[in-house]
């Protein structure tokens, strides 16, 4: 870990963010009071299983949540505490301001790069368009910038690859193009949503190395969303563990693995298959499955699966949320350090 963890300025502060999907079958509370900080030059890992709200968090920041989802509470503060502070949650998603933030201040890397790329245009056309959306330069200049971006993300022979169509590239090269697209507007915040989940393990290692290098060079505030505890251990400085729309634990990465404080984190870490396992070693399991976010258990949402549940308390009361930036667990058993 890098020293001086808290000295870096906060680039983005999320406070009590709530997102609801209003559907015929009832309301789904996708996020219920999520708070965290993204700091320049540091990586925040967001980890959790399906339905925990990690992708909704990313999409809310960029104001691109799918209908019928909408932000029903909380703030998303860009440059908090500075004269430029702006609450993205209060902006019109279609406004010029929000469009400038999207890609210009906050870049997004998708799990499947084809989400961000069109099959009908060359890689170059798409990056050039993205570059020109965020700066007033000529087409020729933008083309040079696109080649430079492709080189920066490690694409060999960028001068020729710029005229390739996405389908002509391998999965690994496509994800590099996806990263180049995310960097086109020169953002200082990057959100990577499962950026290596669709890739093979050797390609994953290459993409993670690339993200590490870019982050260090550009002092980017990186939010890395993953379900993979290996990727968390390898890449992040701080970690937010999410379960059913809430941050249940927040900790520096070493502390999270050495002394997890939430029963869910403890159980999750013991359930991860490991390349270091003994032959035929059984895993610790968590009973049941993640409930559907529309059928959220009362009290602490983890209580039906929790080995340490306090009857009458966890079943009825929601444990308090963790104050942003402070290590802890949202659990009645957690004693603040």
């Amino acid at each position: 870990m890098r020293p001086t963890p808290m000295a870096e300025p906060i680039a983005l502060a999320v406070r009590d963010l709530a997102v609801r999907f209003e559907m015929e079958q009832g309301n789904v509370h996708a996020l219920e009071g999520v708070s965290f900080d993204l700091r320049a030059g540091r990586t925040l890992g967001i980890v959790g299983e399906s339905g925990c709200g990690k992708s909704v968090t990313a999409r809310s920041i960029l104001r691109i949540i799918d209908r019928p989802g909408r932000i029903t509470g909380g703030r998303i503060l860009l440059d908090p505490g500075t004269p430029q502070e702006v609450d993205l949650a209060a902006l019109d998603p279609e406004s010029a301001r929000m469009r400038a933030v999207r890609g210009g201040r906050v870049g997004l890397i998708f799990q499947e790069p084809m989400t961000a790329l069109s099959v009908h245009y060359t890689v170059g056309n798409q990056i050039i368009e993205a570059v020109r959306q965020h700066s007033d330069i000529s087409k020729a200049e933008a083309r040079n910038r696109a080649i430079e971006l492709l080189r920066e993300v490690g694409i060999p022979r960028p001068e020729t690859r710029i005229d390739a169509y996405p389908f002509e590239l391998s999965g690994g090269l496509r994800q590099r193009v996806g990263i180049a697209m995310a960097l086109a507007g020169d953002p200082d915040i990057l959100i990577a949503d499962e950026p290596t989940t669709a890739l093979d393990v050797t390609t994953q290692a290459q993409i993670l190395a690339l993200l590490r290098r870019l982050q260090a060079e550009k002092r980017i505030a990186l939010m890395l969303i993953t379900h993979d505890m290996g990727v968390i251990a390898e890449m992040t400085d701080e970690v937010a563990v999410m379960y059913l729309g809430r941050v249940v634990e927040y900790a520096p990465v070493a502390a999270l693995f050495a002394a997890p404080r939430h029963p869910y984190t403890r159980a999750l870490l013991r359930a991860v298959p490991s390349v270091l396992a003994a032959p035929r070693q059984r895993l610790a399991t968590i009973g049941g499955a993640v409930p559907h976010p529309g059928a959220r258990p009362a009290g602490c949402a983890f209580h039906p699966r929790c080995a340490e549940v306090i009857p009458g308390r966890c079943t009825a009361e929601m444990p308090p949320a963790i104050p942003p930036g402070i290590a802890g667990a949202s659990c009645f058993l957690d004693v603040p350090a």
Binding site: D200, V201, M235, L269, L276, P279, R280
Partner: protein, 332 residues
């Protein structure tokens, strides 16, 4: 006693071009693969996408017709059948001895059938009387730790992990000699994945299952397999007992694969290494050893001469010219 012996298996796809659709090349999806599975043993077939591991499993199940090679299968003690050249009619009675567990528990179960009928279907097809079927379904549900009440419900009522249990119960209904599992836990959440891994371990112990476990996740494979075969561009590059392979790999590709896995331990941070380049194209594999363009240890010979899979120590096979001189790094 081996349940399965595969030798020199090839599956080539012709590349055709021009007006006469002449064959101008071949995709060598599987190019000379040999291995065996002993009774009660789980062999994992691992590798990255496009390495041919799924093609091998599909050839064994005869979902694909192999181009050449032999697949010898022992449906019962003392009887061995060669599957590659076997006429379809003679194949049908063998199917019950060879069952499959699928990756996606959502698409592999018929949504319009009740769970009890899904599990009973293979029994019905094979002429098991109705009364016996009922008892067997209950036994199977119990085996995969599902309540008896599940039999009168439809798949949509169940989570991904529960559906995978149902798929496993169906696969085990006829007490097959061989189970082929293709990425059976890769679509599941970590907490559910652990339950299914433990279930597979229990079933291996209780039923002495023989299993071909096709997977890309080296963590999962370390837990469930007795031996591992690593594939690269249509060929097996290394086979060894699981713990041995992870601790002391003898092929540079195995070393690269293991080094690329991020370990769930921040104290090991920075040890993750990225091998250069990309997987070779099976339509146009490099000459010599297919891994040589990415191999940090490649010498002139590797560029010219293709290494054969040879036994370096008893039970350990590798196809690397430098296997005996290299000191490669493993994990754990």
């Amino acid at each position: 006693m081996n349940v399965l012996e595969v030798s020199e298996l090839r599956k080539h796809y012709p590349i055709r071009a021009g007006l006469l659709r002449r064959e101008v090349g071949r995709v060598r999806a599987v190019d000379g693969v040999s291995f065996h599975i002993a009774a009660g043993e789980t062999l994992a077939l691992v590798g990255e996408s496009g390495c041919g591991k799924t093609t091998v499993s599909r050839c064994i199940l005869r979902a694909l017709r192999a181009t050449s090679g032999e697949i010898r299968f022992a449906p019962e003690d003392g009887r061995v059948v060669e599957l590659v050249g076997l006429p379809k009619r003679q194949l049908r009675p063998l199917r019950r001895h060879m069952q499959m567990i699928f990756q996606d528990p959502y698409s592999s179960l018929n949504p319009r059938m009740m769970v009890g009928d899904i599990i009973a279907e293979p029994l019905k097809v094979n002429g098991v009387p109705a009364a016996e079927r009922q008892a067997r379904v209950l036994e199977l549900l119990d085996l995969v730790q599902m309540p008896a009440s599940a039999r009168s419900r439809f798949p949509h009522a169940f989570s991904g992990g529960q559906r995978q249990r149902i798929g496993i119960a169906r696969a085990l209904a006829l007490q097959p000699r061989l189970v082929v599992a293709d990425e059976p836990v890769s679509a599941l959440d970590v907490s559910v994945q652990a339950q299914i891994i433990n279930l597979l371990l229990d079933l291996q112990d209780r039923l002495r299952l023989s299993m071909l476990f096709v997977a890309h996740d080296l963590g999962v494979v370390r837990h469930v397999s007795d031996r591992v075969a690593v594939m690269y561009v249509g060929r097996i590059v290394e086979v060894a007992p699981t713990a041995t392979l992870y601790r002391t790999p003898r092929h540079p590709y195995t070393e690269a694969l293991l080094a690329a896995v991020p370990a769930p331990d921040p104290a090991r941070r920075g040890r993750q290494l990225a091998v250069l380049g990309e997987v070779a194209d099976p339509a146009n594999p490099p000459p010599g050893c297919a891994f040589h363009p990415r191999c940090p240890y490649a010498v002139e010979r590797c560029r010219i001469e293709r290494p054969e899979l040879t036994e370096v120590t008893p039970g350990r096979w590798t196809s690397c010219h430098r296997a005996r001189e290299l000191e490669l790094a493993g994990v754990g």
